[in-house]
């Protein structure tokens, strides 16, 4: 089981701030691909530039996933 969080434009597009996923794939990239395959809104949300974090650290497609991980997906940041 992992926790997945969506932020900002992604969250608005997906209509949800997050979910739990029981049997995640081995890597972050595979997880992103499986989410993008869910349908139009998902494909669109994951079609642009999406940043990814695992356990609140920036990560990339190759980052492995483990039980209990917190995954975040979000658009390029615009703070400051």
């Amino acid at each position: 089981m992992i926790q997945v969080l969506y932020f900002a434009r992604l969250r608005d597009r997906l209509g949800t701030a997050g979910e739990e996923i029981a049997d995640p794939p081995a890597t972050l990239g595979e997880l992103a691909d499986s989410l993008a395959a869910r349908g139009d809104d998902w494909a669109e949300a994951f079609g642009g530039k999406v940043l990814m974090a695992v356990n609140q650290e920036m990560a990339d497609r190759g980052t492995p996933l483990s039980d209990g991980d917190e995954v975040g997906f979000f658009p390029p940041v615009t703070g400051g």
């Binding site: 974090a53 650290e57 658009p75 400051g80």
Partner: protein
């Protein structure tokens, strides 16, 4: 070495942050700072009213970690005696302060460079997002700017 990092809805008090940073350390020769403000997006045309409010969202927990990591990198790179980073979240109005970075060092060059470094990296790595509300009530997420990516990238190659 004093480090203070805060993500908060409340405004910050610049003078208080300055004295908190410098108080008691007579080795500090200078403090550089940057205050980012909510500005009208574009001064052409109806210049006073192009944004009515700006809302800052963030990724709680990760934000503090990301800021901490940026500050640690700055401390490794420059001889600093103190760093303060305060970033506001929530709804802000035109002219409101958004972010404060203070860097204290014996030498002004280190203070200036580290302050600019922290701002540049924060702009591309700290998980904050701005949403604008326009006078007609519509809302839109602010797009990331390529110039911010370029500003951050130049620190990879600088001496």
């Amino acid at each position: 070495m004093k480090v203070r990092i805060s993500v908060q809805t409340a405004p910050f008090d610049l003078a208080e942050e300055m004295s908190r940073l410098t108080g008691g350390d007579v080795g500090i020769g200078g403090v550089a700072s940057f205050v980012g403000l909510v500005r009208a997006r574009n001064r052409v045309g109806e210049r006073e009213a192009e944004i009515s409010t700006l809302t800052l969202e963030h990724y709680p927990g990760m934000t503090e970690k990301a800021l901490g990591r940026i500050v640690d990198t700055a401390r490794e790179r420059w001889p600093l005696q103190g760093v303060t980073v305060i970033h506001r979240v929530g709804e802000l109005q035109l002219g409101d302060p958004i972010v404060l970075v203070l860097t204290a060092s014996a030498h002004r060059r280190a203070a200036f460079e580290s302050c600019e470094f922290i701002m540049d990296i924060l702009k591309t790595e700290a998980p904050f997002w701005k949403k604008e509300r326009l006078p007609d009530g519509s809302e839109r997420w602010v797009d990331a700017r390529e110039s911010d990516g370029a500003a951050a990238a130049r620190w990879l190659t600088s001496p």
